[in-house]
Subunit: 217 residues, 2 copies
DNA sequence: GTCTATAAATGGATAGAC
DNA sequence: GTCTATCCATTTATAGAC
């Protein structure tokens, strides 16, 4: 257990490669989210770390490759949350409410992730296209939603004929837009969508919209 | 009526200042929508026109000022559509359906506008903040929605207590996201949201979602 | 008002020492 | 693996002729 200060180097600047990489990724994520892929400056990414520009190129090769890594890691973060959901123990309606609330809260709590996704769409998702970990994301959410829809239908609380992918589109739209477009919204309508009083109301609206959409009759 | 070829100049390149300005704006709109503000190149904007770079700087001063003009004109285009709606002659439910369908169709038909709005949000809407014509947009849509909600409530087809701004948020989310995020969506789920067969289904979903949200129960 | 040519600055990327 | 110093392509913007 005690490794007796077995670290070989006292580390004047960067400790080890892994720590440096992580620091660069964190800095790059902030920079890319703030200014986009084209707007981001490698110099500014370096300035956000304790290392320098050549370290970035040594570890990641190019600005674009670094962006790719940042994007990949950002999506990985969301996968964690999706896995942590235990929906089977709840009635279908409550499970759906919980799923929507978790999605709403995740988007609200991670505006940087929302911005990165927006930015990637401006680039026609070309950097995501070649990603390995994308395929696995595919099945998971839709599978969970599909199973929940089927269960709710059996329980008689959801109407039949709902496409899981289309429902996911509905939920994502309602959770994403209010974060991604909050700035133009604020400029046009003068309402801050992130103000605490409005967030709670919108959260209720989104849950209500989804549940009413699924309710039979 | 016949102006007898009264045009003073045969116009070898640019005819008049107004035509040149319009051509530059159109080219700039395409370039900015394709690559974003930082990614856009003034050289490429010039290449999309029959004029050259100095003409751009002569007419607009700077790349950023040109972007501002493009953004302003893009928003003006959407105002036209909103004004062309005659909702008073329809029952409240049908009027709401029509309003949602028009919004859906406008977003679907103008992906460039959607991209420009996304881009402006990445820039925290700083270019829209100082815009003169933004304020007038404010009142219009929300006023129309508020009046329609009040009428529907009187007719007993909408439930009370709906905030017009929040309803507009809901409609915009459902119409915007499927266009703005179609590329990451395609990369992750392998479904083209713009494919004709899916568009019709999503259009029904959006209308249904809104009407069910408003329906008393 | 519009062009050719060019200035001035920025910014991605690397050489070479340690 | 990480630094200092620098290269060089790109790109915004303008000078000056017509």
């Amino acid at each position: 257990m005690a490794d007796g200060m077995a670290m070989p180097k006292p580390a004047p600047r960067g400790r080890d490669a892994e720590a440096t990489r992580a620091a660069i990724i964190a800095a790059a994520r902030a920079e890319f989210a703030a200014k986009g892929l084209s707007g981001a400056r490698v110099d500014d990414i370096a300035a956000r770390t304790r290392t320098t520009k050549p370290a970035i190129y040594y570890h990641f090769g190019s600005k674009e490759d670094l962006y790719r890594v940042v994007l990949e890691e950002a999506y990985a973060g969301m996968r964690e949350v999706e896995r942590g959901l235990d929906l089977d123990s709840l009635p279908a309606t409550e499970a759906m409410r919980r799923l929507v609330e978790v999605s709403f809260d995740y988007h609200a709590a991670h505006p940087d992730w929302v911005r990165l996704v927006s930015i990637e769409n401006i680039h026609d998702a070309v950097h995501l296209a070649g990603s390995a970990s994308v395929a696995d994301r595919n099945a998971n959410v839709i599978g969970v939603l599909g199973a929940l829809l089927a269960r709710g239908e059996r329980e008689g609380v959801f109407r039949p004929g709902i496409d899981p992918l289309e429902l996911h589109l509905m939920i994502s739209s309602l959770c994403f837009y209010r974060v991604s477009n909050r700035h133009t919204w604020g400029a046009i309508f003068g309402r801050d969508l992130q103000a605490a009083e409005h967030v709670a109301s919108q959260r209720r609206m989104v849950v209500e919209a989804v549940l009413r959409y699924l309710r039979p009759d």
